[in-house]
Amino acid sequence: MKILDKKILTDVAGTRVVEMKILAPEIAAKASAGTFIVLMASPEGERIPLTIVEADRQKGIITLIFQEIGFSTKFLGTLNAGDSLFAIVGPLGHPTEIKNYGKVILIGGGVGIAEIYPVALALKKAGNHVTTIIGSRTKDLLILEQELKNTSDAFFVATDDGSYGRKGFTIDILNDLLSKNTYDIVYAVGPIPMMKRAAAVTQNFNVKTLVSLNALMIDATGMCGCCRVSVGGKVKFTCVDGPEFDAHGVDWQELEKRNKIYCEKEKHICNLTIKNG
C-alpha cells in the first residue's frame, strides 16, 4: 500500500490530475484492463473507486490516475511518495472483454483518458484497428497523449476552447468518423454528459458502445447497493455487475442525479478544510 511515486500530470488553475504508483503485488498480479480498486487514504477516509491504469506484475506495482475533484481525491492528492494508503483492495469489477472486434473507437474525456489507456493497449494487442479520440476543456488538461498516440492506428484530439487539436468536443469527431466509415465497437469513458452524448451518437449509427461508469461506492463487493444504476430497465450494481455497461441502455439522468447525492455535504467538508487551512 506504499506510494512509490507521485506525479502531477496537469495543474490548471488548481485543478490537478495526479498519477500515483502504488506497491500492491496481489492486485497487480490479477489486474486486467477495465478493473478497479477501492482505496482509503486514511482511517477516516472515504472508500473511493479508481480504475487501474497500469499494472506491473513483476514489480507488483499499480498505477492510478485521478483528478482532484472532491474532498477525498484532494485529500489523496496531499499524500506523497513514501506515504502509505490506509487501505486498498482489488482488482474489482469485471475486466473488459478483450478480443478482436475489428475496428474500434476509444473516446476519453478529461481524467477518463486514463481509463481508456489500459483498454487501448489490450485491444491493440488483440489485433484490433484502434482509433482514439481524447478531449478536455483545454490543452493543458490533456493527459497520456503520447502514450495513446503510440497505441493507436488513428488518433484525434479535441479541446473545448480550441487551444489544441480540433475546437469542440470528442463527440463531434466521433460523429464525423461514424459518418465516413463503419466501426465495430465504441468504448467511451469520461464525464457523464460526454458518455451520454457518445451513446446518443452511436445509437444513430447502430454501433455497439461500452461505457465504464463512475457510480459512488462503499464496499464495492455488492454488499451495499450504493452504486446501483438502471441499464436496459434493470437495476444493476456497478461494482459487481459492471463497471462496464451497454451505453445505449444506461439511464443517464438517474446516474447523474445519484452521483450528486452528497454535493451539499461535499461543499460543507471542503469549506471546513479550506477554513482550517
Binding site: 482509503m40 487501505a87 483492495v89 464496499d219 463487493t221 455488492g222 459487481v240 439511464d251
Partner: protein, 476 residues
C-alpha cells in the same frame, strides 16, 4: 411456592441514549444475576438447551451462577460458544433458548416475559470472563499444529471457526475483504447493541491465540480458492456471509436518498458517517425518515436513523413500514420495544408500491397500499394481501429498504467447482459442512441464507470439528 419476580435488566434511559451510540442494555450486576439465576427451575430435561443452536449447557451455567462460580459459568458457556459477550447481546433469545424455556407457554410465537433471561445471564458470565481474562487457553494437544487453514471472511462464522481451530494449534489466517474485521458484527450491528470494545476484545483474543487477520483481500478477486491450497493451506473455511441487498423492485426506487439498510448501516457503523466531517464518509438525514421491513436489520436502521435525526438537530420522525402486523415481525421483541421507547413509529399492514421525487432526483413521497392478513404462507405467517384502491402518499425524505439479502457470488461465480443451490448459496454436507470441493468447508449466511449470529457460529463449530478430522486424516 411464591413466584419469583422477573429481574429486569438495567438500561440507559431513552432520552439519554437517543443522542448517542452508547450501549442501551447495561446488563445485570452480580446481585441481579444471582436473583435471575435463582429463578431457574433447573428442569430435569432442560428444553432450553435444545432451543440453543449450539446447545450451550444452560442449566449448568445458570446453576454455577447461583453458586457464585462465575468463572465456572463462563467456561461452561465457552465449551459451546466462543463469544458469550457477543451472543449475550445479539442473540434473539426469545426465539431460541427462552422460547424453549418451560416458563414460556407452549405454542407461543416467542418467549414470554416470565421465561428466564438466559441471554442476560450469558452476557453477565461472558463479561465476567472477559474482565477476568479467563479466555480458554490453547489446548495442550496440538495435534494439528503443523497445518495451515484459511478462513475466508471475518464475520461470526469466520471468527468462530478460526477460534475453534486455533485452540487446537492450527495456524489460521483469516482473509477479510473490508478494511476492518468482524463482518456484520461491525458493519451491520450498531454499537448501541454491540459496543465496539466488546468486538475488538474478542478479535484480539483470537489474535493472541495466533490467528492472523489479513484485511483488504478478497478471495475470488486477489487470490483464487485453488491458489490458497498452492500457498500451503491444507483446508479452507468459507464464511462469506450474505451479500446483495434485496430491493422492492418498485418505480422510483433508485431516487436519491433511498438506501438499502446495508448501505445505511455500513456508512454509519463501519465508516463512522455519524462523525462526518471528521469521518469523510457522508450520510444524508431528513425530516421524514422511513424504514421498510420488519426484521432486526430494519430495527437497527430505524434506531440509527432516529439517533442521527436527534444528533443533527431534527425532531425524531422515523417510521417503520411493515406489510404484516407487529406479531409477525421477525425482529427481536426487545429491539421493537427499544425502538418504540426511542420514538420510532410503526405503520403496519403497509405495502410500498412507488416512490416519487423532486426535480433533482431526491425522494419526496412514498406511495403505499394498505394490506389485510390472509391465510398463512410457507413461513407459517399470515400473508399480507393488498387492499384494492387503498393507495395513499406519505411524505418521505429518506427511505431505508431492509428486506433481506441474497447470496454474495464473488467467489462462487469464479469457482465453478463450488456447487451452489438455486439461491446461489453454497451447498454443504449438513454433518460436516464440507462443500463440493474436498478440504473446503462453509458456514453462516452463505450456507443457510440469512440467519442469526449464533446459527452461523453453530455451523462454524461443526465445520471446525470436521476440518480437524480432515487434517488428522491427512497426517496419517
Amino acid at each position: 411456592m411464591a413466584k419469583k419476580e422477573v429481574i429486569k435488566v438495567q438500561e440507559c434511559p431513552a432520552q439519554e441514549r437517543i443522542a448517542s451510540f452508547c450501549e442501551v442494555v447495561l446488563g445485570y450486576n452480580e446481585e441481579e444475576a444471582l436473583k435471575e439465576a435463582g429463578r431457574c427451575l433447573q428442569c430435569k430435561n432442560p428444553a432450553c438447551i435444545q432451543g440453543c443452536p449450539v446447545n450451550i449447557d444452560i442449566k449448568t451455567f445458570i446453576n454455577k451462577i447461583t453458586k457464585k462460580d462465575y468463572a465456572g459459568a463462563y467456561l461452561t458457556i465457552k465449551e459451546k460458544n466462543n463469544f458469550p459477550s457477543i451472543c449475550g447481546r445479539v442473540c434473539p433469545a426469545e426465539y431460541q433458548c427462552r422460547k424453549a424455556c418451560v416458563l414460556t407457554p407452549k405454542n407461543s410465537h416467542y418467549a414470554s416475559e416470565a421465561a428466564i433471561n438466559i441471554h442476560f445471564l450469558e452476557r453477565f458470565a461472558g463479561d465476567f470472563g472477559k474482565d477476568k481474562n479467563l479466555s480458554l487457553s490453547q489446548e495442550e494437544h496440538n495435534k494439528s499444529a503443523a497445518f495451515k487453514v484459511a478462513v475466508v471472511g471475518s464475520g461470526p462464522a469466520g471468527l468462530c471457526c478460526a477460534g475453534e481451530l486455533a485452540r487446537q494449534g492450527v495456524h489460521v489466517t483469516i482473509f477479510e475483504g473490508l478494511h476492518n474485521s468482524g463482518g456484520v458484527l461491525r458493519y451491520g450491528i450498531p454499537p448501541f447493541r454491540l459496543p465496539r470494545n466488546i468486538l475488538d476484545f474478542e478479535i484480539d483474543c483470537l489474535k493472541k491465540l495466533g490467528v492472523k487477520i489479513v484485511p483488504n483481500l478478497i478471495i475470488g478477486k486477489s487470490i483464487m480458492l485453488d491458489e490458497l491450497f498452492k500457498e500451503g493451506f491444507s483446508a479452507v473455511f468459507l464464511g462469506l456471509g450474505a451479500g446483495i441487498p434485496s430491493f422492492l423492485g418498485v418505480p422510483g426506487e433508485n431516487l436519491c436518498n433511498i438506501y438499502s439498510a446495508n448501505e445505511f448501516l455500513t456508512r454509519v457503523n463501519l465508516m463512522n458517517a455519524f462523525q462526518f466531517p471528521k469521518s469523510h464518509t457522508p450520510i444524508n438525514i431528513g425530516k421524514k425518515m422511513i424504514v421498510i421491513g420488519g426484521g432486526n436489520t430494519a430495527m437497527d436502521a430505524a434506531r440509527v436513523a432516529a439517533r442521527l435525526q436527534k444528533m443533527n438537530g431534527f425532531d425524531i420522525d422515523t417510521t417503520v413500514f411493515y406489510r404484516r402486523t407487529e406479531t409477525e415481525m421477525p425482529a427481536r421483541r426487545l429491539e421493537i420495544q427499544h425502538a418504540k421507547e426511542e420514538g420510532v413509529k410503526f405503520e403496519f399492514l403497509m405495502q410500498p408500491v412507488a416512490f416519487k421525487g423532486d426535480d433533482n432526483g431526491y425522494v419526496r413521497t412514498m406511495t403505499c397500499l394498505r394490506c389485510q392478513l390472509g391465510s398463512p404462507d410457507a413461513s407459517g405467517r399470515r400473508k399480507p394481501i393488498p387492499i384494492e384502491n387503498s393507495a395513499f402518499d406519505t411524505p418521505c425524505d429518506i427511505a431505508i429498504v431492509a428486506l433481506g439479502l441474497e447470496a454474495n457470488t464473488i467467489l462462487t461465480s469464479v469457482t465453478p467447482e463450488l456447487k451452489t443451490d438455486k439461491y446461489k448459496d453454497v451447498l454443504v454436507d449438513q454433518e460436516t459442512m464440507q462443500t463440493s470441493i474436498a478440504g473446503v468447508y462453509a458456514g453462516g449466511d452463505i450456507v443457510g441464507g440469512e440467519g442469526t449470529v449464533i446459527e452461523a457460529m453453530g455451523m462454524a463449530k461443526k465445520a471446525a470439528r470436521a476440518i480437524l478430522d480432515y487434517l488428522a486424516s491427512k497426517k496419517k
